[in-house]
Amino acid sequence: MATDIADRERPYVGRATVAVVGNPNTGKTTLFNALTGLSQRVGNFPGVTVERKVGQLTLPDKSAIDLLDLPGTYSLSAKSPDELIAVEALMGLLKSESTIQAVLVVLDASNLRRSLYIVSQLLEIDLPLVVALNMLDVAKARGILIDAPALSERLGVPVIPIQANKRTGLDELKEVLSRVVEKGAVPSRSPILPQAWWVEAEQLAQKYEGVSTGLVLRVLIDNQNTFASHVVERFGDDFAADLHASRAKVNVGDALANQEIELRYGWVDEALDGVLRDPEPLRVTRSDRLDRVLTHPLWGSLSFAVIMAFVFQSIFSWAVPLMDGIDALFGTVGGWASGYLPEGALQSMVVDGVIAGVGGVVIFLPQICILFLFIAVLEDCGYMARAALLMDRLLTPCGLSGKSFIPLLSSFACAIPGVMATRTINDPKDRIATMLVAPLMSCSARLPVYAIFIGAFIPDQNVWGGIGLQGLTLFALYCVGIFVAIPVAWILKKTLLRGQPTPFLLELPSYKIPDVGTVGMRIYQSGRHFIERAGTLILAATIVMWALAYFPRSETITAHYEAERERLAGASEEILDDLRAKEAGEMLQQSFLGRMGQALEPVVEPLGWDWRIGMAALASFPAREVIVAVLGTIYSLGEVDEESTSLRDALQAATWSDGRKVFNIPVALSIMVFFALCAQCVSTLAVIQRETGAWRWPVLTFVYMTVLAYIGAFVTYRLGMALGWG
């Protein structure tokens, strides 16, 4: 059977690519981060939106290879869309994806038997293989002993013991990788599966171009799962017919997929005989004891609520000193710019447009980082799976499963990775329903909006035991999205996406101390992304809005106020300031933005908003955090308070034309509820379109969310006024 290895040679130009694969929760990401550090680039696989992480690994001889981090999977028999990507990449089916020269598989030493299942499959895809044996410390603590050199001998490939979290064993791993990539030796095929299956696979592989033996074997066995259907679709009806015939020839008795599993585990047990010593497989671990509380129906749910409340409270309280620092910095820069630039349009654009606008957004960087810190810590320590378990109970009645929980929770950071994370959901209808409600989860871009209004209008009172009213309001706003998502998902699953309840199977990994590098990388990447957005999309929107609010300059108003000033020559500073404020207000009123805003006012008045809020909300449809920038620009153009560039003060001081304050608690709440529910994010809608391949889903998302936002804001305002909070 030792066929044409020469024929399968994979020539490449430039840098070699090594794919990193492994079961979920094996420390794959930690290893990837440890090996590539800050050189990694996050993008998408061409044509699909699964996150594609590539990083550069410098080898001992100073040459470099690219490491490609593939989604975690238990088996090459793909059952969900993200596993499909991993398998397609390994099989060389992803167009325009660089060819993979070797595979690095990460194994969990404390779960060795299960981890070897995918190794047995990887040994058959004709790629050089290196095994990284991770988490030996956990295994050792449980009394599990593994003879790595003996395992290497049994598998016929290098096995390198490592501890990704402590960065040990990495030098040896790099050396071995370098050697393996250079030699390109494909492991010899272990006789795991029957000869007859291989014969059929090889015959078919020779008949069709671009089809490898490994690929045919996979679809021969898989029959009707996600991957097989995908491949059959690609290679056409003749291929499907031939495949069917081949299958009929070899399939005697039990389904091939069942036979495969038994044969592979038979091989795994043989390979582990004398290599693995696990005296007590069902031992009760510390994780199990912790889970008695954390997955307990009552205590677990309570712990969950306390953890979440703590997270939201911390976002507020921890960030204050950092935010004050950024605020002061922008204040200084603004003051410096006003002094340096000549008065006129340029100074106004820089000070009122760019600094007031972008600065108003950038100030929330500390809060974004704290949010991602918590998400990364909860994910990395293993708690997320427990939360999904607890949430399954709540999600089942809405027609979803606990599997939807992690995408939904990621959406609290940003709906875009949230929508992409739905690829772990096997059922297509569940997946679309999850995507459609994901943007209702309060993403980090809403945080600046909440923060500015809560900071300005919700009293900083202690309610109970260190929990403040501000933190509670923030928590309540996060709940708004969740409580609306429940009926929306329920209705979707009863109408457009009706289907059977889908099964739910999720691994509960052992708890571990979060890895500093992994958490740091998450924070760094999200912070960078946030700053990039502020520097591009938000900067552009700010300048456009500034121009609309600045032009046209009215000669009549300028002339009128010049005359006034001459008439009042020698009057007190106070009177002159008042005059300047009136002038600025009138200018804004007759600007393009002012005129548009006044046309819009009847629509937003029922929500308690003035035209400026209305325009800022309208301008925020491309990206919701634009509102903060636009309000900053509008209010710094409309007011002449040179002392403070703080948006919070400007909002508190804003008045209607009759002198009444624009903002009170009901207005602030109404704006926040609107932003909690509205689909103000072009990128999310675009991702939903790409993921579903249909326009109707993003359109539906946009329409239902905007309608709900308007109704929600209206009800909030009326209720707040009726309760006398105005």
């Binding site: 238990y74 088996s75 028999s77 059952k79 404390s110 779960n111 038997r113 299960r114 299942y117 599990i144 799962n225 389904a255 997929a257 069942n258 599993i261 038994e262 585990y265 696990d278 497989p281 069902l282 994780s287 199990d288 889970d291 997955t295 129906p297 799976a385 999904a388 378990l389 399954d392 109970r393 089942t396 606990g402 096997n426 099964p503 739910f504 199977l505 999720l506 691994e507 509960l508 990994p509």
Partner: protein
């Protein structure tokens, strides 16, 4: 008639802390296929860690949660 303890029973009716070995995982759907791939095959030690509408089972050295209704497809022989 044989006593109930002699026959394999679905894990969905096991109590918390019950241990035994897997006898069979039935069904041709993706859930049962995945269960087998992660090691739920005959002879493997199994224990129930949580009961309720969502159950947690330990298969070998891994722990998984699944719905009680789906856990009916796993039958095991309870240890005395």
């Amino acid at each position: 008639m044989a006593y109930a303890t002699d026959a394999a029973t679905p894990l969905s009716i096991w109590g918390r802390g019950d241990e035994g070995t897997i006898e069979s995982v039935s069904g041709a759907n993706q859930l049962s296929a995945r269960l087998r791939e992660v090691g739920a095959i005959p002879g493997v030690p199994v224990r129930v860690l949580r009961v309720g509408s969502t159950v947690v089972i330990q298969v070998g050295s891994s722990r998984f949660c699944l719905r009680k209704t789906d856990a009916t497809c796993i039958k095991g022989m309870k240890a005395a």
